[in-house]
Amino acid sequence: MRYIDHHAHMVSRTTDDYQQMSLSGCVAVTEPAFWAGWDRSRAEGFEDYFRQLTDFEPKRAAQFHIQHYAWMAMNPKESDDRELSREVLKRIPKFLDKPTVLGIGEIGLNRVTKNEVDTYTEQVELALAHKQLILIHTPHLEDKLKGTKISVEVLRSFPTLEPGRVLVDHAEEHTLEMILDQGYWAGLTLYPQTKVSAQRAADIVERFGPDRICIAGACDWGPSDPLAVPRFIMEMRRRKHTEELIHRLVFENPVQFLSQSGRFKIRPGVEVEASVR
């Protein structure tokens, strides 16, 4: 089955991972800007990273017939540093014209500090000023509930923001309703430990239905799985869900959300092939 992984940190993965993803049906990935696992010392380091995301990574993915798109942002983990954040935000607009950039992301909160909220709010403003889609990271573990509540509150303070142009990622059982009820898209990211498993993601779909839900692996430099989406497909098949429902979750839904950017276009023929299966 053809699928799209809307959240994959491919700079942290090997070319073998691209190959495995391609072999398992991946036709496109979108890569949000994120924390490298350590704090960068200056804004120039982010600029190089943004060039890697927009120049180098699409070529690497193309070798395996995977389309690569990116999101620009100051990530939540480093966003408590206000001075660094302001410098990084100044550098983002020039990347927004790149042909594979879909919007601002992943922005959001980590430990939910006042500084993080300020940087997050400025990035929502930046997205609105440049008419960009928004991809939101929600915090880990015990911080997820509080962080998601405040992230949604901030979004609601922008009356001109169209909810359907925002995807709130890393949703779990206790945060999904507050995301969907406000009209945002929700992402379920499949992690071995700290987010949802393929089984729980399937449970969530059974409880809440497939509307405005996308599935991603969010693979990165930590314990994570570049083949998480195919494992979700297997889990759904294990439960005898229809191919139509699975296809909607892993292909049609991400296409619907991402296509709002105007830049996200599936390679000619792939969409037809995916629908025929």
């Binding site: 983990k77 408590d80 980590n110 430990r111 939910v112 500090t113 006042k114 500084n115 993080e116 909220v117 915090p139 880990h140 573990l141 015990e142 911080d143 997820k144 509930l145 509080k146 509540k149 405040i150 779990e172 059982e173 206790h174 729980r200 399937a202 449970d203 779909v205 059974e206 409880r207 809440f208 239905g209 497939p210 509307d211 294990r238 439960r239 005898k240 869900h241 429902l245």
Partner: protein, 101 residues
Amino acid sequence: MRTPSPLSPKELVDEYFIENRTKILEIAAFLDRLDRADPSYAARDFRMKAFTEALSALTRKGMRLDVIQMLLSDPTTTPLESLDRKSALGAYDRWSQEARS
């Protein structure tokens, strides 16, 4: 629109019993391991206090997962004044919060 599992209750048990049997034995082994190290420790560590409450929630019918998610979550709504650490710990220390208030 909900999309319930097409599997019957028996099929669900047939399909998932063994892997969940494994998981519950892993939890039991972890708790025994901790007791062997120090039988009184779990009562002092906020993560284990939350974990123990979560285990109790397993025995109640209905919405177990939602209850456990809330037991492990920070229920407050005020941002922190400053960054204390980078990473989450997996459970919220409401016992020390209660002691302070």
